[in-house]
Structures are given as C-alpha cells and as structure tokens.
Symmetry: C2
C-alpha cells in the first residue's frame, strides 16, 4: 500500500509500505476513506524532533473495517468507523473516568501511520465507533474531523464548562481552536471570543459561532479580554497552540475560579508556580480523550446538526502529503485532508 513517511524535517514522502496485518486479537484493520494532517505534526515537520529513520505519519482517520481480530466484539467487517488517535481499552479505571487517551493500555494509533491506504487500530472495541450505517460521501470529512480536531476542540469546551451564561475565549485559530468555537456554540456558551489575527480564520470562527474576535496577542490580548468581561476575564479559556506565549495569554485571560484547558502539546513551556497560584485558575492539559465524545459527535454529524468539515480547506490526494504540510506550515491552509 502507499503511505506517508517523514524522513527529515520538511521531507515527507509517500512510499510503498507493507500492508498492516492483525497483530493482537483485539486489533482491527481499516481501509482509510480519508485522513488528515495535524498542526501537531508541524513540530516534526519543522524539526523539533530529529527523525533518524523514515517514520509513518498521521493519526487521524475514518474508514471501513476490512478485518478484525478474534476477540473484537463491537466492530464488524464492513462497518464504517471513526476512532481516536489513542487506542484505549475503554474499560480501565482511567477510561471509565473519561480519560481514554491516558488509558492504562493506551497505544498511539499514529505510530502505525494513518496517512496510508490501510491502518491497524489496536484495541478496536475500545477505540473505534461505528456509524449508524454507511455514510454519504459528503459526511466523511466531518467523521474524519471527529477523530481528533473536532474531538479535541470539543473536549476543550467540555473541560472549561462552556455553556449558558459563560464567556469562553479560544487562544489559537488552528483547526482545534476553531472547532472549540463550534463546540462552545453547540454547548450554549453566551459569548465566544476567538483570538485570531487572520482574516480567513476569523471568518470561519464567526461562521462556527464566535461572537467576538480579538486580534491582539500577549498582554494586549489579555487586556482586551478583560475589557470585554467587565474586568474579570473569561470564565473559560481553551488554549490550542502550545507555546509559552499562548499558555501565558490563556492563563492571564481567565478569571479566578475559571477554567483553562490546554490542548496544544506544550513545547518549551515553563509555568511559574507563583503566578499560577495567584491566578487561581483550574488548569487541565493533555491529549484529548476523544473516545469519550465520539458516540455523541458521530450522532451529531450523522444528524447533520454540526458541520465541522469546513476546517478542511485543502484536499489533495495522499501523494501530495508534503505539499499539504507546506501549506499548513505557511498558514496557507487551516487543515489538509488527504484522499487515499
């Protein structure tokens, strides 16, 4: 089969890779209908981690089950499925508490490289969720979005308790941030402030339900949030970047007793304990437990209640994976969807 691998910073190739096979009896193999490129991959693309050997790329997927291991019960060959980027047993105490991405038996699905024609998904029963039937083609991008960017943005809105009467601010105008706006809207937040300085992303944020746009960053951005919230700061802040500046901006934009959910993998960030103490904000980071929300999200997509697919503004074939990353790196694209 064909699959994308990263060989060095900026060097993503689509090569012939071996077809995946069932390894454990809890595995499933899916034929990937659509896959995408993640903002978090850009850290590798830009060289934050030194790739020493060609490494499979991609952890977002949706597709049709072609094979299952002998112990798989809930998923059948022929099902169309969505799934999280972390495989989870969905039965351990961590999963039961709703933190499936940190399951006691979590495996990173991305290690198998979802940007390929076929993908092996471990712990299929606890990881995959089948759609009610075979989806219309136009639903595939939204179902793909559920596997990470939608699920992650949604988890952010849930964690910060976005809802009626709440002011939610979103730091970061990538796909996750934009879909946190959609999630906050869907959950009834009163005011949703998107922090963005890019016209096309501002437009998308407004379409997804943002009530206010703040283009300022850093201390100026914080001051603007305070101004918009009677001096208090937002109740709820979703951080979807992962830098020192964005984390600081998020924490300082939040009122005491408010919530910050940081969704961006933190890179080179150090949080001063004393500032965090006196900020008195509830801070939760971590890979989003997408699996917790998948059944609900798939239903909302199936019912066409939400349409997250417009974050995909570039949809080349798999063979052009590298160009997809380049466009995201240069911020010419919000999110690249690859067709197999």
């Amino acid at each position: 089969m064909r699959g994308a691998v990263i060989c060095a910073p900026g060097d993503v190739r689509v090569e012939e890779r071996e077809n995946p096979a069932i390894v454990a009896p809890t595995d499933a193999i899916i034929r990937v209908s659509a896959m995408c490129e993640c903002g978090s991959d850009l850290w590798d693309y830009r060289g934050s981690n030194d790739a020493t050997q060609p490494t499979p790329m991609g952890h977002e997927y949706a597709g049709v089950v072609t094979e299952i291991g002998g112990e798989v019960k809930n998923i059948a060959v022929g099902d169309f499925v969505g799934g999280s980027f972390f495989a989870s047993d969905n039965t351990c105490q961590i999963c039961e508490a709703g933190y499936q991405s940190r399951c006691a038996h979590a495996e990173y699905v991305g290690a198998n490289g979802a940007q390929s024609e076929y993908l092996r998904v471990p712990l299929a029963d606890g990881t995959l969720v089948a759609t009610p039937g075979m989806p219309d083609d136009d639903l595939t991008p939204s179902l793909l979005a559920a596997s990470d960017v939608l699920g992650t943005g949604w988890s952010g809105a849930v964690a910060v308790e976005a809802g009626p009467g709440r002011t939610v601010a979103v730091v970061g105008d990538g796909a996750v941030g934009l879909l946190a706006v959609l999630a906050a809207k869907q959950r009834g937040a009163e005011r949703i402030i998107a922090m963005s300085r890019h016209a096309s992303r501002q437009k998308l944020a407004l379409e997804f339900g943002a009530t206010d746009i703040v283009a300022e960053r850093g201390d100026e951005g914080v001051a603007r949030i305070k101004e918009l919230t009677g001096g208090y700061g937002a109740h709820s802040v979703v951080e979807a970047v992962g830098t020192q500046e964005s984390m600081t901006q998020a924490i300082r934009s939040t009122r005491a007793g408010g919530h910050v959910r940081f969704l961006g993998v933190a890179h080179g960030v150090e949080l001063p304990g004393e500032e965090l103490f006196f900020a008195e904000v509830d801070l939760l980071g971590g890979p989003a437990p997408v699996r917790r929300f998948l059944p609900e999200l798939i239903q909302l997509i199936w019912d066409r209640t939400i349409d997250p697919a417009s974050v995909f503004d570039l949809t080349p074939p798999l063979d052009q994976a590298e160009e997809g990353y380049k466009a995201m790196d240069e911020r010419r694209a919000v999110k690249t969807l690859l067709k197999p």
Copy 2:
C-alpha cells in the same frame, strides 16, 4: 495595644501598636480572642522577603466584634466571629462563583496584623461569619483554625473531589495538610494517604482519619502511591507545602483525569508544560476561598462534629510570638496558637 511585628528575618517582636479604628463604613473592629502563626509566615521568618520596616504579623483570627462601620448589616457589636484571611465583598462575580479570596475587592486582612489585641477587618459583611452564640472557651481554637488552616485544608479536599470511592493523598504534614486529611475523612473519602515522615504528625494524621502513611518522598513517594493504588495513582492529591519537590511529587502521584489542589504558596516553582500536558491532571492553585466554607465549618465546630484544634500543639501568650515561630521553624511545633 500590643501586636507582633517582624523587623528582620528571625526577628519577631511584640510591640505597642496603635489601636485600629474604622476606616471604611464596611469595616469592623474585633477584639481578638485567639490568633495563630502560619506556616506561610515562615517564608518571611526565614528571610524569603526582605522586611525593610517593621511589618505586622498574622492573618488568622477569631474574636468579638467591638465596633462596626455604618454600612455593616450582617455583623453586630458583641458577635463572636470567624473570618477569612482575605476580606471579600461576597457579592462580586468571583465571590458568587465561590472564589472569595480572589474577590474583585479582596483585601489581605493580614496587612493589618492579626497577631494583636484588636484587628480591623475590611468588608465585614462579606468576610466575617458570626457563631450561633457565644462559644464555650474550648471551641475558640477550632473556630480560629477555621479562619485559615481548616478552611484551607477543607478547600483542598473539596477541590480534589475527596469523597466516597476516592483515594486522596496529602503531600505535606503541616497543619493545612493534616486538616486536609480531616476534611477528606469528613467528606467520606475511601482511602486517605498522608505523606509524612514525622512520628508525631503521622499520629495526628491517623487521628484525623488517614488510612495509610507514606514516609517516602520524591520519586520513591510517587512509586509508593502508585503501588497503593493499583498502578494508577491517587484520584485526588492535596499539596500543602509549595516547593518544586512537593509540587512535582503531587502531580506525579495523581492519576490521569485526577485532581491536584496546591495550597502552599509556590516558591521558586517552575512547572514544565510538557510534563503537565501528559500528566493530564486537573490542577488548581491559589489562596483558599475560606469564606465559602466558613458557615459550614463553623456549624460543624459548633455541633462538635469536627475538632481541628489538636493541630495547635504550642499555645504561648502573644508576647512569645517569636518563640512560636522558632518552634515551627525547627518543626518542634505543628502550629502555634497565641493568646492575647
């Protein structure tokens, strides 16, 4: 009146100070029945902050109201009152959300020096809570404890959702940590692990309801907590020290999806963003919103349901304030209560 002031590290004196007077119409003056010395004062006592002039000491108090400003409605002269170390209006949005110590109009009561015969308490209606009647003398220490150490420990147990089915670990065996144990017990936690290596404090922790004692610290302490919790870590960890080591120990002792409440004022602490991300623990720091819990705590004390007073193991007269700090600094005393 006589009152304690710190003149330099290690130099606490009891001097003649001017009697406080009503400044704002929302003030009250109380005659302090009992006051105490806080672990957080030890940072000053040890020289973390350079005192450049004699500074009044103490922020924990209970006593009888002797004078009120013209706008005070809920508190009357003659009332016996407890109060938080932060004055709060108890009406702003932050107070309404239960974070009174970060009230939009918060004032640090300790700035007036509670280790004195009389104390001015700003925003009396929003800060003080009257007892149902004049308490028996033996209740005074417990009511005093409510003003900070009990209220703070209690807030920790609430924030980490200590309750039935939960394993709670407490890092720090000072008065706040010990009273977090009492609070966790009172709130029905299934298992309460006190991290302490001092025999007398271990004994007190067990009396307050600890089910397990862990004497190990750092990575060894974390390993022991994991061992006691089936490899998962505790659901709920209360941190009551404020150092890099204790914060790290607290975060690493918590399972993904669990809660950490850090109650110790963080000194020189830097939290690495990436570790915090992958820990995926809910982290809340800050001065405890004691006022939120005061009505409940006062009632529990009044009904003799809880008895936090045994944290006071040294009870000299006010004149011996310095000896009280010395004993706490040398860990000869858990907590010093001063009699006026």
